[in-house]
């Protein structure tokens, strides 16, 4: 694991914005099946704004970058995912305050704080078929594996996203479908897993990002 600098953070967010543009229709389609079909549009809109803001503001620390991400998402995403991702980045920013870069320990603290923030705001628990499932999987990897194996963490995130497929949603719009929410991967879980793949790839050379079999989502 190599510590994440401010420049590397900006590159991660830029790469993530591109990934979201690619996955926009996939995320919309998943959300269409069990929600209102806008998760891809919401995320792509928000994170393309984030990428631009970061390029323009050139943050000098990861914390400052996270603050910009949080504020930008807050004003551009809306829906359920907007405040949740915004909260996550606000908590990351607070956790990394004063640091020039993010090492493994800072990451551990940051992810725990972010997850706590998401759960406090969204009131979802693990297994409710939300992004909480993915953040929890990563947080567990960070807690139990020291030093962290970045490849395992990426795979744990992807596995957690896929594991939402058979679940019945108990939070968010998909919850209104009851049992009919089974059989589709939660779109917010997928978007979170995609972010962790970019993050860990930037912090550890040689990480292989998951190949998503779209027909299995």
């Amino acid at each position: 694991m190599q510590p994440l600098t401010a420049e590397a953070f900006v590159r991660v967010m830029d790469a993530y914005a591109q990934v979201l543009a690619e996955f926009r229709d996939v995320l919309n389609e998943l959300d269409n099946r069990i929600g209102d079909g806008d998760h891809g549009t919401n995320m792509a809109r928000g994170f393309s704004a984030v990428a631009e803001k970061l390029k323009a503001s050139q943050p000098t620390t990861p914390a400052a970058g996270c603050q910009t991400v949080a504020m930008t998402l807050l004003g551009t995403v809306g829906g359920a995912s907007g405040p949740l991702y915004s909260t996550a980045f606000l908590k990351l920013s607070a956790a990394w305050n004063g640091r020039a870069d993010v090492d493994e320990e800072a990451l551990r603290g940051g992810v725990a704080a972010a997850l706590e923030g998401i759960m406090a705001r969204g009131r979802a628990a693990v297994g409710d078929k939300t992004m909480v499932d993915v953040w929890t999987a990563v947080q567990r990897e960070l807690q139990t594996e020291q030093p962290l194996d970045a490849q395992r963490a990426v795979e744990a995130a992807a596995a957690a996203a896929l594991a939402t497929k058979p679940l019945t949603a108990r939070k968010g719009r998909a919850a209104y479908l009851g049992d009919r929410s089974q059989g589709t991967v939660d779109p917010g879980s997928l978007s979170s897993a995609l972010w962790f793949a970019e993050l860990f790839a930037a912090m550890s050379e040689g990480v292989v990002k998951p190949q998503w079999d779209l027909s299995a989502l």
Binding site: N28, D36, D38, T41, V77, P83, A169, R170, A175, Y176
Partner: protein
């Protein structure tokens, strides 16, 4: 997709322009998607909002005796907290602000964050969460019921109380009382098309209807063969009466709400069945509203909302308002 529009990305912006152009007592907060009363009174302020596509909700309910501001998100997408914050700031007159939020995760989260930001600025903010839709109400999940057309009763009654000078606590209490006594359920005959997607929100066979449909095309209890409207009304009222506290002898206000494409004539035919069936249940109808109050773009279908009334609520329900859509 056939729509009267210019630019899909300016859909909300242009509709808000057209709305304030039609209603000179309303204006937009510059640079936002917030519509406010031009003349603000020295009273508790009411702010509501949500995704667009439900017109006249919510900007059509801005006016004396109802809302002070309405926040419009993108079509069917909750507005962002900064927009809600702009609304709160614009209408706060020192007496505090009540947020009337429909129970969707997105709406709740965005309005809550705005409330926190406003309170950090020293603005007292209270909130109520409307959850009138009895279609989805089970123990298998924990998000609670959705907020649909009955929300309009909250705007009206709480708005009238605020206009009369009630305190923030008092307005919140009254709003919550309306929520506790409001129950709704809808159905759909045909889907709508979100402008940005261009595709119908769901598919229904030529002889099918969806019972319990939400206002964004979320499904409800079940899909059923098309039936006479009297039977449909019976199905909806059965379920509403499983939840409403209204008993024989009680008085209710009735809202027969069109979802967008359903002709008023059909809503009146539905209302005939509703008034007969309420009479058969011994419930007295104090007042009936028939029309489009909270739509889903051009979805075909309707919902029924019942508000159980008492001596406290009736005067607020009847109080004057210049909100264009009441």
């Amino acid at each position: 997709m056939k729509k009267l529009m210019n630019n899909v990305n300016a859909y909300v912006d242009e509709l808000l322009d057209g709305l304030v152009a039609a209603h000179p007592h309303l204006e937009r907060v510059p640079g936002t998607q917030v519509v406010v009363r031009k003349q603000l009174a020295d009273k508790v302020a009411l702010v509501s909002g949500g995704g667009s596509g439900h017109e006249p909700a919510h900007a059509g309910f801005v006016g004396t005796g109802m809302l002070d501001a309405a926040v419009a998100g993108e079509v069917f997408t909750s507005p962002t907290p900064d927009q809600v914050l702009s609304a709160i700031r614009a209408v706060h007159r020192g007496k505090g602000v009540l947020l009337v939020i429909k129970n969707y995760t997105g709406d709740v989260l965005n309005f809550e964050m705005a409330a926190e930001l406003a309170e950090a600025e020293g603005i007292p903010v209270a909130k109520v969460i409307v959850n009138d839709d009895v279609a989805v109400d089970g123990s298998t999940y924990t998000v609670g019921r959705r907020g649909i057309a009955g929300t309009v009763f909250v705007h009206k009654v709480a708005g009238a109380a605020a206009e009369a000078g009630a305190s923030l606590d008092e307005v919140q209490r009254i709003a919550q009382k309306v929520i506790d006594n409001t129950h709704s359920m809808g159905m759909a005959l045909a889907p709508c098309t979100v402008p940005a997607s261009g595709r119908p929100s769901f598919e229904l066979g030529e002889d099918e209807m969806e019972i319990g449909m939400g206002i964004h095309g979320e499904p409800g209890t079940h899909r059923a063969p098309l039936a006479p409207v009297s039977d449909v009304v019976n199905t909806l009222l059965e379920r509403i009466f499983a939840h409403t506290p209204a008993k024989p002898g009680d008085e209710v206000a009735v809202l027969v709400n069109g979802l967008g494409a359903t002709p008023l004539s059909e809503l009146y035919i539905a209302n005939r069945a509703i008034s007969e069936q309420l009479a058969a249940r011994g419930v007295r109808v104090y007042r009936t509203l028939v029309g489009e109050y909270m739509t889903s773009l051009e979805m075909a279908g309707f919902s029924i909302s019942l508000l159980r009334l008492d001596d406290e609520l009736i005067p607020w329900l009847d109080a004057p308002t210049d909100a264009p859509a009441w």
